[in-house]
Subunit: 493 residues, 2 copies
Amino acid sequence: MIPSKVFKNPTILKILDYYKNLWALSYTSAIAHWDLETYMPVKGSMAHGQALGRLATIRQKMFLDKVFVNLLLKADAQGGLSDQERGIIRILNRELKFYEKLPSKFIEDFENLTNTATIIWREAKEKNDFNIFEKPLVKIFDMNRQMAEYLGYKDTPYDALLDQYEEGLTSNKVGPFFDEIYKPLKDLLNKITKSIKYQIQNQRVRPLQTVKYDKAKMAKLNVKVLKTFWPEYGKNFRLDVSSHPFTTSFGNNDTRITTWYHKTDFGRSLLAVIHEFGHALYDMQSADELEMTPIAGGSSLVIHESQSRFWENHVGRSREFIEKFLPDMQRTVHGSQLTVDSVYAYFNKVSAGTLRVEADEVTYHFHIMLRFEIEKGLIERKIKSSELRDYWNAKTKEYLGLEPKTDSEGILQDIHWSGGSVGYFPTYSLGTFLSAQWAEAIKVGPSKWLQKHIHQFGSTYTLEDLLRKNKIKFDPTVNLKYLQDKYSKIYDF
Amino acid sequence: MIPSKVFKNPTILKILDYYKNLWALSYTSAIAHWDLETYMPVKGSMAHGQALGRLATIRQKMFLDKVFVNLLLKADAQGGLSDQERGIIRILNRELKFYEKLPSKFIEDFENLTNTATIIWREAKEKNDFNIFEKPLVKIFDMNRQMAEYLGYKDTPYDALLDQYEEGLTSNKVGPFFDEIYKPLKDLLNKITKSIKYQIQNQRVRPLQTVKYDKAKMAKLNVKVLKTFWPEYGKNFRLDVSSHPFTTSFGNNDTRITTWYHKTDFGRSLLAVIHEFGHALYDMQSADELEMTPIAGGSSLVIHESQSRFWENHVGRSREFIEKFLPDMQRTVHGSQLTVDSVYAYFNKVSAGTLRVEADEVTYHFHIMLRFEIEKGLIERKIKSSELRDYWNAKTKEYLGLEPKTDSEGILQDIHWSGGSVGYFPTYSLGTFLSAQWAEAIKVGPSKWLQKHIHQFGSTYTLEDLLRKNKIKFDPTVNLKYLQDKYSKIYDF
């Protein structure tokens, strides 16, 4: 079972054999999670939570087994390892550090807190009342701060959290990045909103997003697009429905994505499919030899998001894509006269709104900056929880020019904090900016560029190493230029 | 989490806390298995097999942990336990015996053999060639014989295997049971086939089973039936599609059944749903306090099958059921003039055939007798594998009056042996016979009879103890009389 071509070091082989147990636990946990989001009867979630909680503690215990830890120490001290072998040690040492530094009691408490908090968050969002969610939110930030203390940091506890989601990411990298893009994006947004085209578009009574579609027909269109992108669709890859789109991979031969169906706004369902396909492709094209090892599947969150955003923005929102599937779109959307121009305008409409998930390519990053500031402020105890809602609303006004009418449209809109994730959001913006650089690279590269340069390596390399390997330096101006070029054409300025 | 009303003994409480880890492993394995049969992309099965194999060895290792085994020994020596507490010890000791007596190498080898054998069996069945499957089949019987040696037995190694599926079942109980029912069933079948009604029915050109139906409409009918039986349908219970109907339960609040759709023979899809509902109801009505303990869910296979067969035969095949759902059936089946009489005749048609899964209430047991004889003969080395196909065909001729035309209709028809199950089949007949006794008991009992007398106990009791508790003695004449009464009316003799 252990891949023999890539892995030859005897210590590594022993590590991989033991790791297969940990992989098996992750595999079934992931299946159970996919099930929870897709087919599980509502009342089944309690047993799900109980089982997954136990599995997490079993996994921690097995990970900290002396035999395994000693193998890791031994491998770490060895020279002459291949890139993949070093990748394995790097990934496992990161996890080991996490398990060693966090008491298992803390892990279990955190798991229980976030399980409950997600349910409370759902209730608060439904009832449109932040007060219901305030207490669990404060606890989640308290525990995240505690986690940062356990894990250790140099400048700010927030850096320990950023590092959880993107290895080596710090506030000193995120802050200047946002500073660099803020003004150009603001200027671009101003130019767009002042353009005549924008003014006309905003007066239209029935833009395409309000036209109804039939769910079954929409699903058919989604599958047709996926089959075009990936002819193996159905054999090692499938599409399901969930309350929020996501991708999950159980290996190269079983990767699944989901989308949603709102019965209007067909681009929302379709672009979600294309976005998730970008994630899926990354997972499916990780080299077969890496299967069931710690470096199988996508590397970091930034690279992952750069894949999904590449497909969503640079493929799905392109004129070429719309041309190819226009007849199918026309068959899917009720009584509408879709043209390439009208769909292109609809897919690329810029408009500041209060909801992150509905934001366009230009305004999206303001949503992320807002969250970055709040997360950092809360972790550094510079914002009080009692000021939170007002702070959110004021910052939305500052960045986007409008205020959320309700908590559900404001501070309650995202699921991340309820699930315990603090420090996750910046990867969305970084990934999106990086995707423009892949788009540039692909233009001059061979076909299968992504597979050859990124996908096959799984998580062998960190983001920085992968960029270095591909001789690409992270450069926000590439995406800024792409946005400027694209939207000056669309809005005619 | 640990139920406090039923379980008070401190040792039992410790056992249950540890057991929750084992339960969590079983829970996620079961979800993964359901996924395999319903939604998994075909190419995902390799990773599935690898993960489940590892989980099985993790579970064995955790089960054999000295701390846990000592707790079991301690509890075993204690008096004053409740029935439920004794049930827990009984079930866990059975599993402990299995894990202790079988080397883990044997368990892993057996797992690998049956994983491969199932794939080979599918190929053999498709290609209609027993020769392809002969070798793995011989190995499976060899390993089953070896398993019997490990586990120990008194009279014949086959008894050790029977006991795996039905605690305490032996050849000395199964043999006389089949002897008792053989002649009466043969006589009944003779009377039926000689009746004028049978002769007329066999001449009809278009019996109902050949009429086509629409899959989506059929699924709607199935769900309507389930919602009538179980108004909570959708909240803690759902219906899916698989290549062979089955039931799986992840707890009282998440039980799932599947059915199949052949687009003709609508009773086959509907009666499968009703059959599986019988299994599901048993699992869903196990007392809440037993959740996540070793005695949650149905008790033995015989009792389980007695539940499914009760619903299938005594409810689904009844005139009352057909009357209630006739308009829905009419809407579902294309261009047919369904009447209560025609559907009743179709649901209860007796006709000897070569396929077990399509057999009626009268001829079904001949299929089981045949398998019982072959299994016992192979385990006791009285039948050679080279004679197997001829033996199967000759016995089919003897019992059912006709010979399989192909291996797929004959010795290759069942999945059980390829999955390693030897000694399973007799529970089907025993359960079916027992179901007639429940039907009798329910007639004079209160509503919710099944919940009160059987379901709530989970697997607290063995079959024998449960019968004793309900003051019912297993009596094959009850089902024989039911069949005689029913079919003499249908076939007018």
